[in-house]
Amino acid sequence: VTVDAETGGPTRAPAPDARRWAGSTRTFDAVGHRFAVRTTREGLGRLLDDAYAVHVTTEPPTHWYSVVDDLPGEWPHALLLAHDVLARSADPATILGHLVWHVNQQVIAAEDRVLVHAGAVAHGDRAVLLPAAMEAGKTTLVAGLLLRGYRYLSDEAAVIDPSTLQVLPYAKPLSVDPGSWPVLPGLRPQVLPDTVDYLARQWQVPIGAVPGGEVAAPSVARLLVFPTYRAGAATTVEPVRRAEALLAVLRQTFHLHRAGGDKLDTLARVVEGTACYRLVSGDLVQACDAVEDLLDRTSRDVEVSRG
């Protein structure tokens, strides 16, 4: 074992296969990223198995993550991919956050899909996209809508199939920051005592743990809302021109530099089929009311145009 001079720990962990694992997951296929996780804590294995359950596959994993908590030195917690250490920390919550982040990174690298940094939910066969930069309140708004019976597509990346324009589910666990815990108390994950410290910085909430939470079938976007959470702000909604909306979506599109022209074409077709709005709110209930109202309005407009 090579000892790291700064941390006093090994730079390569003992061979994962030689360990006794307290927990492990089934294999998941998240938008082409096929992985499984094993852990030295039973409860964490269970949490992660629930967290990505919607993506379970019978195929073998191509990536094995390991989460360990017993490395020597001041930073005993680590995330490994095969034998390589991806991250080490004194704080287990950082390690879980890094695992979710790493899976996200692999998912957004998908070559055959268009991925937009957006929350996404569906009502019936209509998807609602919520594109926004980080810290805009995507996860909180998605969670609020799920609690009203909307179905889950993602809190992080809207995965669009260019051939059908459908939004496909990337049903990762909802990553709920502490600022939103008071308005979403029912989402506190119920985990074994050995896992509580992994959730001290951010809740990772499996969709199955959301009351009434279900994953949506692939759905075509009908409403595009650009949300901004602003503490104390009154709730305001204003329409956005489609070209302006497309520009904003492009700015939130992952890896646009790869086949950017094709992605522009796909996203233009998506935007052409949606009504587009900007939403600013400091209140989750009002923000959810606004999205529901906009979706109702969109449905009525469609009925009028059909009539």
Partner: protein
């Protein structure tokens, strides 16, 4: 088309690295080589669509003046101004872009899209082989 100037006898061409779509009369452009995006207002969109690299701006302006019932001289001024702006954004083949303008239009990197790690990262990356 010259490096920095475009005149009424120029026949500028849209940069072939630019992909674009028009929605409700406004063009959204993505420049593959520069990694930039921009939005054109309806007037600039109309002009943009005419830049085929064959017709001179004077000709294009005359046609637009007839189409919209406007004064030809004024339309030419508008077209020259719009093409200069498009050129500064790196959208016209053979016209040097203004780096400052382009920088404002360039997209964020993928890393800026996804939170690095929640909270204060208390880890550091370790090379696989130590």
């Amino acid at each position: 088309v010259g490096e920095a100037t475009v005149g009424h006898r120029s026949a500028p061409r849209r940069d072939p690295s630019v992909a674009w779509r028009v929605l409700d009369g406004e063009a959204v452009l993505y420049h593959d080589r520069l990694g930039s995006v921009c939005l054109l207002d309806p007037i600039a969109t109309t002009i943009w669509q005419e830049l085929d690299g064959v017709r001179e701006l004077e000709t294009i302006s005359s046609e637009l003046a007839v189409r919209f019932g406007s004064d030809a001289r004024r339309v030419l001024d508008d077209v020259l101004e719009a093409v200069a702006s498009l050129g500064a954004q790196g959208l016209i083949d053979g016209v040097r872009a203004d780096p400052g303008v382009v920088a404002e239009l360039q997209l964020p990197t993928p890393e800026e899209h996804v939170r690095a790690t929640p909270g204060e990262p208390k880890y550091r990356r370790v090379p696989p082989d130590g």
